[in-house]
Symmetry: C2
């Protein structure tokens, strides 16, 4: 999905929100916004928004002189999500459709997001609502068919906190398909509250899957930004779970039927793109 | 009130909204947004938002190659407002407090706005609500005291449509204070749905007051942008009714107790500035 006019608004909203985490000084916040504006003057309109976000957040970090504006928030939400671990595992254990239940919880975890138009959220409400109501697009039957023959699965991680629910999803899949070889791709550097190697380690992802660092601090996966090892794992994958809207924004640009997008729609632009409402729950096989 | 970080968001929102009145072509809209972004790279942070708006809308008009993107909308809302004329006059006639009733209706007319964060509005609901509930800040007693001794009154007009209710307010004031000399200041050129000489003529303002054209297409009055005649009328005024948030944003910068701001708060920045909620109804003597 290429950048839309409304994305410019969103970049500025994110600049303001990130700045306010570190300063109440209006002049400093205006300087961050000005820096972002200058960066946005020559955007290539054929790019998906997350690719542009890399430069936007680099500007924010430089102007704020902070390496990771979301460091504390990421730790906080990793801990909050961990507190839902036992509940989630019990829910899955007692469920008749364990895979479906684990997918729902992983999707619910996607509500933990500080990018885009997200102002506030409730993890508990989202979990309850998702378990009760399910998905607006649901390609689980195609997913199950592909899983049967799959040898290698890649999960493209999205946000801190959310990663705890993703780990539980991968444990569930591993119990059902024990011979599956699983990799989790994380961001190449600090960007919003997205998962880095440190977050994956913090939640013990290494016990469940091999963690692979991609090469750039972009809040959406792009195969070109992989080193040789990562690239090979990507190419060898038979099935890909792409978590979050950022990964959708980049990967909806390539036709790749291995990919299943699992995310909550969080902005009007993506809602319009998919002809659904904001906050719709998506489990969609890539058919673009 | 000086520009705030959130105003940058608002400038882009306005660029998108204005563009969509004329084209559904995403690339054209992106070009308008890009043009506005370039214009915003070197903003003087000591300026009030309406002064910056002049350049923002000039860019929008140039990029769209349209002299007045709001021409049809202004005509439409002048006509809609006219359809409330008889109702409004009857309400005032039957009111025990005619001045208060006319002020309320003039304030209600201020809901007709296509700038800032305004997405949609209902004139009828706003009229009913304002007549029923009144103002959140109400300096009518100071206003009445000043009116008693006033010789010259200036009303700073705001939006097309709204001007119909302002005309009725001025007729009411003139009935109560027949010796008052009344001028209405309008914008110096096309800007959003703000009143120009053409709009004032269209609603017959000349029957009630002398219409004065200011010098620039700015959605907020600034005394420096007057020619000699306009400047003299401004200086001779004993009392000023400043309609709309745009005029508040500029004139809250100067200490001038002659000014009474009559407007609905339409954005978070002004709401925060006045420590009130969005959509609060203001009749405030300038005490900044």
């Amino acid at each position: 999905m290429k950048v839309h006019p409304e994305c410019y608004n969103c970049f500025i909203t994110q600049a303001i929100r990130s700045s306010k985490l570190h300063t109440g000084n209006k002049e400093k916040i205006l300087n961050v916004v000005q820096g972002v504006i200058r960066k946005l003057t020559n955007i290539d309109h054929s790019l998906p928004p997350p690719i542009i976000s890399e430069e936007v957040y680099e500007t924010i970090r430089k102007e704020l002189v902070v390496d990771d504006p979301y460091k504390d928030i990421k730790r906080k939400y990793n801990d909050i999500a961990k507190s839902y671990s036992d509940f989630s595992k019990a829910k899955i254990k007692n469920s008749e459709n364990k895979l479906m239940c684990a997918l729902k919880l992983s999707l619910a975890g996607n509500i933990i997001d500080f990018g885009g138009e997200m102002d506030k959220f409730s993890i508990e409400e989202t979990i309850n609502d998702t378990l009760a109501s399910g998905f607006h697009i649901n390609d689980i039957e195609i997913f199950k068919t592909k899983l049967k023959d799959a040898k290698n699965l890649v999960l493209l991680a999205d946000n801190a906190g959310e990663i705890v629910f993703d780990k539980i999803l991968l444990e569930t899949i591993k119990n059902l398909y024990p011979s599956l070889n699983i990799h989790v791709f994380v961001r190449g550097g600090n960007i919003i509250n997205d998962v880095t190697v440190e977050d994956a380690d913090y939640v013990g992802m290494g016990d469940t899957a091999k963690v692979v660092k991609t090469q750039k601090a972009i809040p959406g996966f792009w195969p070109d930004f992989c080193d040789e090892d990562c690239r090979k794992i990507w190419e060898d994958a038979d099935i890909v779970i792409s978590k979050g809207q950022g990964n959708f924004e980049t990967l909806s640009e390539i036709k790749d039927k291995r990919i299943f997008f699992l995310f909550i729609i969080k902005c009007r632009v993506v809602a319009q793109f998919l002809n659904l409402k904001k906050f719709s729950k998506i489990f969609l096989n890539n058919n673009f």
